[in-house]
């Protein structure tokens, strides 16, 4: 249930983190996820007042984010296609007229390197998408199946396999010999 008469800024603050988790998990580190996030809220601003009052805003935003993720990947592919330059250049060179390094953008970069996100990036694609749309975005398995294909049961398995892999990765990182574990030796005994 939503109230279209509340300031849109409230919607951005309330649902921005969830939409970001979905975009980040679907599109990985880099500019594309940030583009998809901004385009999602742009689209939401455009149609905001016309939404039926019974709309579940967060689920609606997650669906928009999914469409924007598809768009962003398409346009990235279009941009990359005519050139022979290596694809990784798009991550940092698409920033447009920005000059200097914004400290907040540097924070985004740090987050890209966060252990849990690195683990998400390493999941097989179907597990990663199932985790993104179901676990992080809150969409039901049936709907996620419509997005990524397969049966709801298969999506359920992919989602829980993905979560198990992430738990395992986090649990495993408690061991000092894990190369991803950056903090284990500084926190004393555990």
């Amino acid at each position: 249930m939503m109230d279209q008469k509340i300031p849109f800024e409230t919607i951005v603050r309330r649902h921005g983190p969830t939409v970001w988790r979905v975009c980040r998990a679907v599109l990985g580190p880099g500019q594309d996820a940030e583009d998809a996030w901004a385009e999602t809220f742009m689209a939401a601003l455009t149609v905001w007042e016309g939404l039926p009052p019974e709309t579940n805003v967060e689920a609606w935003l997650v669906r928009v984010a999914r469409n924007k993720a598809v768009d962003v990947v398409r346009s990235s592919a279009r941009r990359a296609a005519p050139t022979a330059s290596p694809p990784e250049s798009t991550t940092h060179d698409d920033a447009g007229p920005r000059t200097g390094i914004d400290p907040a953008d540097a924070a985004v970069t740090r987050e890209r390197e966060d252990m849990l996100w690195v683990a998400v990036d390493a999941l097989p694609e179907r597990q990663r998408l199932a985790v993104a749309y179901h676990h992080l975005g809150g969409l039901p398995h049936e709907e996620v199946a419509g997005i990524i294909g397969g049966t709801p049961a298969a999506v359920r398995r992919a989602s829980s396999d993905g979560m198990r892999a992430l738990r395992h990765r986090l649990g495993a990182s408690g061991k000092a010999d894990d190369p991803l574990d950056l903090d284990a030796n500084t926190g004393g005994t555990s």
């Binding site: 983190p17 455009t46 408690g174």
Partner: protein
């Protein structure tokens, strides 16, 4: 460190800096498509934090912290448009002029104003207020006469009290006939601070 069993969506880190960077991207992007009706920002002043809100037509609202910024935004969402976004860059000009005013470097404002929130007789009073010069004061009674309705002293008082653009539209320059401060949306202390500022500059 969260234990692995508690892998909830909130465990997936989204820090404040990330949200700020994403928000700025939205702020840069939104004006291009004209999808935002009201932009706002806050500004530190000697009267505490002020919130400034503007439409494409000009400055719409100046609010004191004691009014509750969220409450003010909710009212704007209801009465003007819910397409409200915090976008400081859209308010660079009013923020600069208000800053100059508090620094004693500005005596009148050269800003486009959106008078949407001023209606009827109150609107007439609000229109008149900028004619009271910097450092001058007028009584509610005199103001009622000047707007052509000498018996409407109370209505003038409530017009001043509901000025949507305090500081910029100088309702603080209106006092009681006996010289007492009367009232002020930002509190009497704010009113006397403004009057002292203008008396000393």
């Amino acid at each position: 460190m969260t234990s692995p069993e508690e892998l909830t969506p909130d465990t997936f880190p989204v820090n404040d800096q990330t949200m700020k960077a994403l928000h700025r991207r939205l702020e840069r992007r939104a004006p291009e498509d004209g999808v935002v009706d009201i932009s706002y920002r806050t500004l530190e002043t000697p009267l505490g934090r002020l919130m400034l809100a503007a439409t494409n037509n000009g400055l719409l609202r100046v609010a004191f912290e004691n009014e509750g910024f969220d409450a003010v935004l909710n009212t704007l969402a209801d009465s003007v448009s819910p397409r409200i976004l915090e976008a400081p860059a859209a308010l660079d000009a009013p923020a600069r002029e208000i800053d100059e005013y508090f620094g004693g470097r500005r005596r009148s404002f050269d800003l486009r104003l959106d008078r949407t929130l001023s209606h009827g007789f109150r609107g007439e009073v609000h229109e008149f207020l900028p004619r009271i010069g910097y450092g001058e004061t007028l009584s509610y009674k005199d103001l009622a006469e000047r707007v052509g309705n000498p018996r409407a002293v109370r209505a003038v008082g409530s017009a001043c009290a509901t000025n949507p653009l305090p500081v910029v539209v100088p309702c603080h320059r209106v006092l009681r006939t006996d010289g007492a401060l009367g009232g002020y949306v930002g509190g009497l202390e704010a009113k006397s601070t403004l009057l002292e500022l203008e008396a000393s500059a």
